[in-house]
Each structure stands twice: as structure tokens, then as C-alpha cells.
């Protein structure tokens, strides 16, 4: 807690010139897209109004409308993505929306959050905002900057170190799946991590029955989806939605997955049973979460509670691990009287603003502490990167 207060007070420095430049370039791109959209449709309208957009798409262009909302037909991303091939304008609209979101939440908004006294932005870390025990952050929420894509990485480039200093990022690799391996004691998953193999590639090889070397990117993608999805109670339907598998393929895929990873299957079953009996689930450290809805007769409530029950011990354990590491790192940094400061925690990643003379020392500290924060049956692994900003690091 004192550490989080300190991190908030530390804040991060912003490259305002870069953000300004991005805002104008995104603005220009949006104007260009606007023209494309108007040309494709044949007239001007307000793209930001979902009502006007619905009229254009469904009434004028005669595209297939989907769900109805309070104010008319839905034009949300899922609906539009399904229509992507039906009309060229859809692609432009999706792109326009994405840019508009980035501009309003980041490139325009971040500079306004700069504290006039410190010249930095001080995100607020919330310990009580999630159901699993992860931290959440707000004003700004730096945890949901898009990871992929050129623009997401460019926004990260705008988070910089003070002149002459460096940023160091230390990122746990597959921490949730390692926690799952520990909790479920699944032999196959444990072995994968002990051999230090790529977990998604290996899952793909198990499930598709081909050697690791013959796993195609498509297979690996499907395996990745299921690795992350199944422990959150993803169904065959969910997998089908998330991949381009058919329903039958998805069902088969899941059942094969469980036959290859029987420990995970029994973890899921046992956890549901335990939760129903006790009314709570807990992390490896014993931090509990009460889920009385697990015995609800309302199917939706019960299923949501079951997903929570499966998910919380895994994600909660990861959250505990990174918190332990943070507290220990903080203690050691104070002990060594270091000038380097911890500034951000985003999911499984810690960011430090580093005095160049202390780079080797902090690297060593991070390498010593983070992988040893909790003793799991599988090794914990981190990736360390250094750079002048949060976007370009190596």
C-alpha cells in the first residue's frame, strides 16, 4: 500500500510532443476515412451517431441487421465485423472507430492528465477494483492500451523516462498458465514448463497430433485461444466464436484438450464442487473469494459463478505473486538507497524508471526477486527489456 502510493506519486513522464503529433496524424487519417466513407455511401452523415449509422447501413444499403438495442439496431464491433465482407464501407467504419477511440482515450486525453506541479501523470492503482485480486488502474487506465498494432505501441512510446534515464520493463512469461500448472498439478503442463517449451505450440502439437515442428501458426493460434479460454470456462461455442473452427471442430478440440490435460479437467471439476460446498475459492496463498452464487438456481448466475471459481485461484495466484515481488523489490531498493523508482504495474509487467548508473543493479535485483517471489512446482520466468520509452524496448 505505501508502495502503491509511492508509485502513484512517482508517476510517469509523457512525451507530449509525440502525443500531439499523433493526435494530428490520427485526426488527418480520420478525415481521410470520413471522405472514403461518405464516398462509399453517397452522402455525408454523422459517423459517430449509431442511429444515423444504423439507418445508412441497414435501411439505405440494405445490409443484414442484427440485434436490436434500446435505440435501434446495434452497430457494435461484433455486428460490423460480421458484415465486413458485405460492403467495403464497413472496413472504413471499423478503422475510423478504432482511431477515434485511441484519439479520445489516449492521445488527446493523456496530456490533460498531467499534473501541473510535477509535470507527470499519476495513474491511480486500485487494489479493490477486480474480483480476482489483480490491480486495476484509472485516470488514466494504462492497463488497456492495445498491446498489438502499431498505434498501441506508439502510445507506449509516449511514456518516456526523464532525460538521461531509462525505462526497464520486467514481464512474467505465461504466469497464469504456470499458476494453473501448479494448482492443477497437470503432469503434461508441468512438463512443458519444466522443459521450457513454448506452451501454445506444445498444446497444438498435443491436440492436433503433430510434432512440435509441424505446428502451423493457425494451429498455435487455436491452441493459444484454448489455453487461455478453457480455464475461464470457455465452451465449444465460445471457442468457435473466437477462432475460425466450426462448432464440431471446436467441441472435438476441447474434448481432445481435456484428454491430453486430464489434470486441468479434474481441477475444473474439483474446483466447482469445492466452491459449491464451501461457498468460496482461494489462491495458493489462501486469499479467498466468496461466491455464494455458485449454488444459485438461476443458470446464468450459477455459470458465471463457476467461471469465477475456476478463474480466481489462477489469476488471483498470479496477482499475489506479482504483489509479493513488488513489495520485496521495493524493500530492497530502499535498503540499497536506490534512486531508481518503480512506476507502473500493468498485468504481469513491472516498469521502472532507472538511473543509468543503477541499471545493472536493478536488473540483478529484478532477476533475483521476481522469479522467486513464490515457489511453484514449475519455474517462473521473466523477460527484461530496457529502452528510453515504453514502446521501443529491447
Amino acid at each position: 500500500m505505501p508502495l502503491l502510493a509511492e508509485m502513484e506519486m512517482n508517476g510517469v513522464l509523457l512525451d507530449r510532443a509525440l502525443l500531439n503529433e499523433m493526435s494530428s496524424s490520427i485526426g488527418a487519417d480520420m478525415l481521410r476515412l470520413e471522405t472514403e466513407i461518405y464516398n462509399a455511401v453517397g452522402h455525408d452523415f454523422n459517423i459517430n451517431s449509431s442511429q444515423q449509422l444504423a439507418t445508412v447501413l441497414f435501411a439505405e444499403l440494405g445490409l443484414q441487421s442484427g440485434r436490436k438495442t434500446q435505440s435501434g439496431y446495434s452497430t457494435d464491433a461484433t455486428v460490423l465485423e460480421a458484415l465486413a465482407d458485405a460492403h467495403p464501407v464497413i472496413k472504413f467504419i471499423l478503422e475510423y472507430r478504432q482511431l477515434s477511440k485511441l484519439k479520445s482515450t489516449y492521445t488527446d486525453a493523456l496530456p490533460m492528465l498531467v499534473n501541473p506541479r510535477t509535470g507527470r501523470i499519476h495513474t491511480s492503482f486500485n487494489q479493490t477494483g477486480t474480483t480476482t485480486g489483480r490491480l486495476s488502474s484509472s485516470e488514466p487506465n494504462l492497463q488497456n492500451i492495445p498491446i498489438r498494432g502499431e498505434l498501441g505501441s506508439k502510445i507506449r512510446q509516449a511514456i518516456i523516462a526523464q532525460p538521461g534515464w531509462l525505462l526497464l520493463s520486467a514481464d512474467y512469461s505465461q504466469i497464469d498458465l504456470r499458476a494453473l500448472a501448479h494448482i492443477s498439478q497437470d503432469a503434461e503442463l508441468i512438463a512443458t514448463f519444466q522443459r521450457d517449451e513454448d506452451v501454445h505450440t506444445h498444446t497444438a502439437s498435443e491436440v492436433f497430433g503433430v510434432p512440435d515442428s509441424e505446428v502451423t501458426p493457425k494451429m498455435r493460434r487455436a491452441a493459444k485461444t484454448i489455453n487461455f479460454g478453457v480455464i475461464y470456462g470457455m465452451s465449444g461455442y465460445g471457442l468457435q466464436q473466437a477462432t475460425d473452427l466450426t462448432r464440431e471442430e471446436a467441441e472435438l478440440f476441447i474434448s481432445t484438450y481435456f484428454s491430453r490435460y486430464p489434470g486441468i479437467k479434474s481441477y475444473i471439476e474439483d474446483t466447482k464442487k469445492q466452491a459449491a460446498k464451501l461457498g468460496y475459492v482461494q489462491t495458493v496463498l489462501g486469499r479467498r473469494r466468496y461466491i455464494p452464487e455458485i449454488n444459485s438456481t438461476n443458470r446464468l448466475a450459477r455459470e458465471a459463478a463457476e467461471r469465477m471459481a475456476i478463474n480466481m485461484p489462477v489469476q488471483g495466484t498470479s496477482a499475489d505473486i506479482i504483489k509479493i515481488a513488488m513489495v520485496e523489490l521495493h524493500r530492497q531498493m530502499i535498503k540499497r538507497d536506490m534512486k531508481t523508482r518503480m512506476t507502473l504495474q500493468v498485468h504481469d509487467e513491472l516498469v521502472f524508471e532507472v538511473l543509468p548508473g543503477e541499471l545493472e543493479a536493478i536488473k540483478q535485483l529484478v532477476q533475483d526477486i521476481m522469479p522467486n517471489a513464490m515457489k511453484l512446482i514449475v519455474p517462473l520466468k521473466i523477460d527484461i527489456k530496457v529502452g528510453k520509452n515504453w514502446g521501443d524496448m529491447s
Binding site: 500500500m1 505505501p2 502503491l4 502510493a5 502513484e8 506519486m9 508517476g11 434500446q70 499534473n115 506541479r117 510535477t118 499519476h122 492503482f125 487494489q127 479493490t128 485516470e139 461457498g279 468460496y280 486469499r287 479467498r288 473469494r289 466468496y290 455464494p292 452464487e293 455458485i294 449454488n295 444459485s296 438456481t297 438461476n298 446464468l300 448466475a301
Partner: protein, 491 residues
């Protein structure tokens, strides 16, 4: 409804609970897991009506489990209905409890449905010159709509409602309220398992009724019905149609003893409702609970439920006394009053400290309005408090300590050894609402006002520094006191 005439509100208990149960997201009592979404929907609707419609009379009707005359008339009546889920049964019981606490008269009678009781009561009210608003989740009631009787139904998330008068019924169905009985007799009602006449759908039924008026007249002019196919259909199924009509018609002469005066909206036992809300975990509804029924909820901040030994520290001598007190106490709770919402940018308005249950001190630091009280210079106060705030040997109890740490740090004080944070504790034990007011209510059973009641929120917010020392002081002392008390009860 003209406001000169008195107003009676009639609740259809079963229909409302049913509707709310399916319409509202699941909500359970944290500890026990008991489902209470519909109870909350009901309580919220009741409070809203009380505030907005200011009824003179009110009552609630429930179905009984015993079979009704409809079951005797028609074996399959409601036969398709699945067994009522346990979560609905318990919620209906809860609504009974709630009605009792609100002094809301309950009507129920073996052999009749809530609909019939409501139909009867509303007719009787009309006869006495009283307007009625029926609150139900069920469109069956629409047939009793008249110039004196309206029906209100919740929509979607229950926050929104729709009210039907005669014109609205006409617009929705193309029929008058009373014609709905014949309409239902013709097309049936799947939800009650009343089969309609095969081959007659919505459009045909409406057309027939618009032409002839009602079922009796359709049959008395049966030779005028065209085409022939329809005439044959109707003739062959006459008995069924007549039986349906009887099933569909709401009875308006149930032998229920009713004296409108006994339904007068009258004083209620607020504490009983508060206790029940606490048990149900409805802390969010508390603010909407009027002090007296029939009166407006007071706009002024509630008086604290705990009147204790709270003092303002405004002289050097008092500050020295406090320092001595803290030296002996060793542990104390604190509540820091900020100038704004952002701890990084806020000034210090004051600090409240509670070394023991029921004992709290408020030290004003940045008040701009000086009512009768003097403020000591901020630098002097902070210099005296510094050792207590910074030294490890004094354990501090806080609510959202991170905020206090940051705010104090901006003023040169390093808050150390926070041994207990009620916000985190409440989160860890799975409390749903983490506001200090809610935790205090749910864990200690005391209602405390919030600083934001004073300042307002959003654009209309007035900074706390502009309020007089004694008012902010009392609230801050309450916060500190409650923070101190909560540690015991959360541990």
C-alpha cells in the same frame, strides 16, 4: 389523474416479484447467498412511487397457493407452469416481510388470485371517489383500466415504467380495456395455459371485436360473421370461448373485507425497515428511505446515528492535550479531509483522529469560512502531529490509506505503519459495496452521512473547505470513529 382526488396504489406482489426476478441481474446477500434481486426491485419501485406519486392509500395483494375457482373450472389452468423456483418463493416471503415493515396492508385470499383482489379493491375505491394506480408486472390487469384506474408496469431494467390509461390500451391493442377479456377468450393465453380458438389469431380477434363489440355480441350476431370458415370455427367452439371468457375475466366482487381507511399510508417503523435493509444488504436504498412516510426525504444531511464525544481542536492547549492523548493511545484511526477528489492535487482541509471508540478530534487546517472557530496555523499542527503520523510505534487505522498517504505526502508528512485499512479488509471479506457508509451500515448497523452529501457531486460540487468547521468536523470525526470501530468488526 387529477391530484384533487385521493390516490390508492395497489401492488400485485406475485407479478412484480416474478417480473423483477427475471428482469433484474442476479443479486445475492453476500454471506448467505440468498437471492434478493426481485426484493430489491420491489423495494426500489415502492420507494420511487412513494416519492413521486405520494399516494394517500396503499395495499399489496398476493396469490395463495390454494387452487382457485379457475382451477376448478378448467383442469389445465396454469398446468404448464414449471414449479416455482425456490429463489422466487423465498423472495415472495421477503416481500411479505418488507410490506409488514412498511406498514403496507397485505391482502390475500384462498380461491382467488391477486388479480381478482386488486380488481375488487380498485372498483371499490372508484366507488368512493378514489383513483387507483395498479402496479404489476402482468398485462392481464389492463382489462380493469377505467377513467379512475390506471395500470403501471415496469419495463426493461425496472428503472423505467409504462403507465396505461384507456387511451394507451386502445393504442396498444386497438381495443378498449374491457374488450381485452373477449380478446383473451378468443386467442387464449399461453402463460395461463388457456388454449385459444384454433384458427383465430390476433388480427382476426381484433377485427371481430371492433365489428361486434364483445364475445356475447359476436355470438348473438353469429350469422353476420364472414367468411364462412370463421363462422363455423366460432360456432363449433362456442363452449370453449365462453369458458375462456370466464377464466380470463378478473373478478371484481371478491368477498374481501376492505375498508379504505385501513389502507391509509401511515407512519412506519423506520428502524424495522433499516434493520431489514441491512439484513438484505440494500445499503444503496437507504438514502432513499424517507424519515417519515408521507414526508420528503430530508435534503439536509442525516444526523449521525452515533452521538459521541467529538471535539474540534482549535487552540494550542487543545492540540497539546491531543498529543498527550495519542502518546497514551498508541493506536489511532484517522480520516484526512481533502480539498478535492484527486489526492495528488488536493490541499488539506482537516484531519480527524479517533484514538478510541466514540472519541474523536477534528483539527481544521484549510477552511476558508471561519465560523466561530479559530484555526491553528497549519505548519504548527503538522509539526505536532508529525511524530504520530510518521513513527512506526504508532499504529494507524485508515479507510483507503493510499489516498491518505498521498495527500499527507503532498504536505510533507510521511504516513507510516498503517496497520489496518478497512477498505482493503472489506474487499477481502467479499463485501459488495465498499463505500465507508455501506460498510458501516452492513457491519455496524449504523447510518452515517457522507462528506459528499455535503458537497454534492459533479459540476455542482462545493469544495469542503467552504463549509464551516463544525459541520465538516462532525462528519470527519464520524468517519474516524467508524474507521476505528470497523477494525474490530471486520477482523
Amino acid at each position: 389523474m387529477s391530484k384533487e382526488k385521493p390516490l390508492l396504489i395497489l401492488f400485485d406482489g406475485n407479478a412484480l416479484v416474478h417480473r423483477a426476478f427475471h428482469a433484474l441481474p442476479p443479486l445475492t446477500i453476500t454471506r448467505t447467498g440468498e437471492m434478493v434481486n426481485a426484493v430489491q426491485g420491489f423495494a426500489s419501485t415502492l420507494l420511487k412511487l412513494l416519492r413521486d406519486n405520494k399516494p394517500d392509500y396503499w395495499a399489496i395483494a398476493f396469490d395463495r397457493r390454494a387452487p382457485t375457482f379457475r382451477h376448478q373450472m378448467f383442469e389445465d389452468y396454469k398446468a404448464q407452469r414449471p414449479k416455482t423456483p425456490q429463489e422466487l418463493v423465498t423472495q415472495i416471503d421477503r416481500v411479505h416481510e418488507l410490506s409488514e415493515a412498511f406498514n403496507l396492508p397485505v391482502f390475500e385470499m384462498d380461491g382467488y388470485e391477486a388479480d381478482d383482489i386488486i380488481g375488487t379493491l380498485s372498483r371499490q375505491a372508484s366507488a368512493r371517489g378514489v383513483d387507483t394506480l395498479i402496479v404489476t408486472g402482468d398485462n392481464d390487469m389492463l382489462q380493469v383500466v377505467s377513467p379512475d384506474i390506471k395500470v403501471m408496469s415496469p419495463r426493461r431494467g425496472f428503472a423505467d415504467t409504462v403507465t396505461y390509461d384507456e387511451a394507451a390500451v386502445q393504442q396498444k391493442y386497438g381495443l378498449s380495456p374491457v374488450q381485452l377479456i373477449s380478446y383473451k377468450a378468443l386467442i387464449g393465453d399461453a402463460s395461463d395455459n388457456i388454449p385459444g380458438i384454433r384458427g383465430i389469431g390476433d388480427k382476426t380477434a381484433v377485427k371481430l371485436l371492433q365489428q361486434f363489440g364483445d364475445l356475447e355480441r359476436i355470438y348473438s350476431h353469429i350469422e353476420e360473421v364472414t367468411p364462412e370458415r370463421l363462422r363455423v370455427l366460432l360456432s363449433e367452439n362456442r363452449e370453449q370461448a365462453m369458458r375462456n371468457r370466464q377464466l380470463a375475466a378478473i373478478v371484481t366482487d371478491v368477498p374481501v373485507p376492505f375498508n379504505i381507511e385501513t389502507c391509509t399510508v401511515s407512519a412506519y417503523d423506520r428502524n424495522k425497515v433499516v434493520e431489514l435493509f441491512r439484513e438484505l444488504g440494500f445499503s444503496s436504498l437507504l438514502a432513499r428511505l424517507p424519515n417519515e412516510i408521507g414526508a420528503e426525504p430530508s435534503a439536509a444531511p442525516k444526523s449521525t446515528a452515533i452521538k459521541e464525544n467529538y471535539r474540534v481542536v482549535s487552540t494550542s492547549a487543545e492540540l497539546d492535550d491531543l498529543a498527550l492523548r495519542l502518546t497514551y493511545a498508541g493506536t489511532f484511526a484517522l480520516s484526512v479531509v481533502p480539498g478535492g477528489d484527486n489526492a495528488m492535487l488536493s490541499s488539506l482541509v482537516g484531519i480527524a483522529i479517533s484514538p478510541a471508540k466514540g472519541e474523536a478530534y477534528y483539527i481544521p487546517l484549510g477552511h476558508e469560512t471561519l465560523s466561530q472557530v479559530e484555526q491553528l496555523p497549519q505548519s504548527k499542527v503538522l509539526a505536532v502531529l508529525k511524530p504520530f503520523i510518521e513513527q512506526e510505534k504508532y499504529a494507524k487505522i485508515a479507510y483507503d490509506a493510499k489516498f491518505d498517504i498521498i495527500l499527507l505526502a503532498q504536505n510533507g508528512l510521511k504516513l507510516q505503519n498503517v496497520s489496518y485499512d478497512n477498505l482493503i479488509a472489506a474487499y477481502l471479506i467479499g463485501e459488495k459495496s465498499l463505500k465507508l457508509q455501506s460498510i458501516a451500515f452492513n457491519k455496524l448497523g449504523i447510518e452515517i452521512p457522507s462528506l459528499s452529501d455535503l458537497t454534492g457531486s459533479g459540476a455542482k460540487q462545493t469544495p469542503l473547505a467552504r463549509f464551516p468547521v463544525d459541520r465538516v468536523g462532525e462528519l470527519a470525526c464520524t468517519d474516524a470513529d467508524v474507521t476505528c470501530r470497523l477494525k474490530e468488526s471486520l477482523e
